[in-house]
């Protein structure tokens, strides 16, 4: 069979939208699925900018990350694609995107191919499935404790017995409600796969250092070993920019400088430590920061929802006698078996 005809047929039949762009992000080729997905508000045509169809910053960050991996000639094999979430300009549709450069990879300016999968049906920036699962914990605890007390201490007074029986009734109803809500969500979530990119820490730390240097933040990274972490690279950089901005503003008010970043690896986590001279932030202040919506995020995500999507967290604590740290923690990828 003719190879060109075969490739054309494959492209035609793909359910995911495929768009090939020149180095200036002008569209040079696309398949019918891309037209179906992306032309609800803007017609798709060759010569048009990709950025007329979807949000520009996540695409540019992904391209920068690909270029960074090629430039640094990472010891580990560079990933051929970067995966991330993007939206239509109207922010009505969410897409899982995969992007990669087209050969020749040593060209100064590289064309690229971007694949769009519509995830609007299940994707929510607020990560509702995680929250729904967590809603089970409290009623299960209360129920279990009441049952255990009733069975462990059968000699208890009738008043206490009645109180515990009342807990059984209330918490059974709470559990039923939580289950119904979760079951409804699962119907649309069963198809989900995560939208995070797996990166090794060598690349991730290097890329974060490269990014923060543009904000005049010195970054030191632990060179000991390299492990794999799943990240939303666009969200992570937005988050770091926001945290750096907040801490710098706080330091400026006190006529202080000296914010630095240390990236390092622990047993099950990686840490980005933002370190400054002075007192640590109270837990309540960090909690308030977590509720902030980030201006350039997709779908109005908060610090907390970006962290939850990566299964991460932040807190502040004393670093040494004179310095404090705001620690951003991400778990290492379990898929890598490390």
């Amino acid at each position: 069979m003719d190879r060109r005809a075969l490739l054309k047929t494959l492209l035609q039949e793909l359910k995911d939208g495929v768009i090939v762009c020149d180095p200036e992000a002008k569209i040079i080729l696309f398949n019918p699925a891309a037209e179906d997905l992306l032309s609800r508000h803007q017609s798709l045509s060759c010569g048009k900018s990709l950025y007329d169809l979807c949000c520009r910053p996540p695409v540019e960050h992904a391209l920068n990350l690909l270029a960074f991996q090629l430039d640094t000639k990472s010891r580990s094999k560079p990933l051929p694609v970067v995966q991330f979430v993007n939206t239509s300009l109207s922010q009505e549709q969410f897409f899982r995107c995969r992007i990669s450069f087209l050969p020749p990879l040593n060209a100064a300016k590289k064309s690229f191919v971007i694949i769009f999968e519509d995830i609007s049906a299940w994707y929510s920036p607020d990560n509702p499935l995680f929250m729904k699962i967590e809603e089970f914990r409290a009623p299960m605890t209360n129920l279990r404790a009441a049952v255990e007390n009733l069975t462990e201490y059968p000699e208890m007074s009738p008043v206490m017995r009645s109180a515990f029986e009342n807990v059984l009734v209330q918490e059974s109803l709470n559990l039923t409600g939580a289950y119904d809500s979760l079951a409804r969500s699962c119907n649309v979530l069963l198809q989900t796969q995560n939208h995070l990119t797996e990166l090794n820490t060598e690349v991730l730390f290097g890329y974060v250092a490269h990014h923060l240097r543009t904000r005049k933040i010195a970054v030191t990274a632990s060179p000991k070993r390299s492990i794999t972490v799943k990240v939303d690279i666009y969200g992570l950089l937005l988050l770091l920019d926001y945290l750096v901005g907040r801490i710098n503003k706080m330091l400026q008010k006190k006529n202080k400088t000296g914010l630095t970043c240390e990236a390092h690896i622990a047993d099950n986590f990686i840490y980005f430590d933002l370190i400054w001279p002075g007192k640590y932030l109270a837990s309540g202040a960090v909690g308030a920061m977590q509720e902030e919506k980030l201006e350039q995020s997709l779908g109005g995500m908060t610090v907390s929802s970006i962290l939850h999507a990566m299964d991460g967290d932040i807190w502040s604590q004393q670093h040494d006698n004179s310095q404090s740290v705001l620690r951003l923690v991400l778990p290492v990828s379990t898929k890598a078996g490390q």
């Binding site: 605890t141 255990e148 209330q170 309540g284 967290d313 604590q317 620690r327």
Partner: protein, 124 residues
């Protein structure tokens, strides 16, 4: 003299069980329903151990933990954090901010009793 256990949780159904269990073990027990009330109760009488919920109105468990560890007078108080947050990273956070142990809901009541006794230096 009986050891004093402070329970800090805003969910009355679990407070009912925790109070019952701790009293059964012979401890003096007092309960409050948020972080601010906890700080007042601790200032009034220093507990030997606190069963501290994380998610509460008016000052959460992390904040209470951090304030206690910042005050040398309260450094000896044992803290067990009880939380409905099941992620590993949250356990890491609780211990980093000064908790002695961290229990994820749902938990076995006898396992909690064992942890309380161990932290209070009692044989189980």
């Amino acid at each position: 003299m009986a050891k004093y256990v402070l329970i800090v949780d805003d969910a009355p159904n679990i407070v009912l069980s925790l109070e019952f269990l701790m009293k059964k073990e012979g401890y003096e027990v007092y309960s409050v329903s948020n972080g601010e009330e906890a700080m007042e109760a601790i200032a009034a009488k220093t507990p030997d151990l606190i069963l501290l919920d994380v998610m509460m109105p008016r000052k959460d468990g992390y904040e209470v933990c951090q304030e206690l560890r910042a005050n040398q007078d309260w450094n000896d108080i044992k803290i067990i954090m009880l939380t409905a947050k099941g992620r590993d990273v949250e356990r890491e956070k609780g211990l980093a901010l000064g908790a002695d142990d961290y229990v994820t809901k749902p938990f076995a009541t006898q396992e909690l009793v064992r942890k309380v006794k161990t932290l209070l230096g009692e044989n189980y």
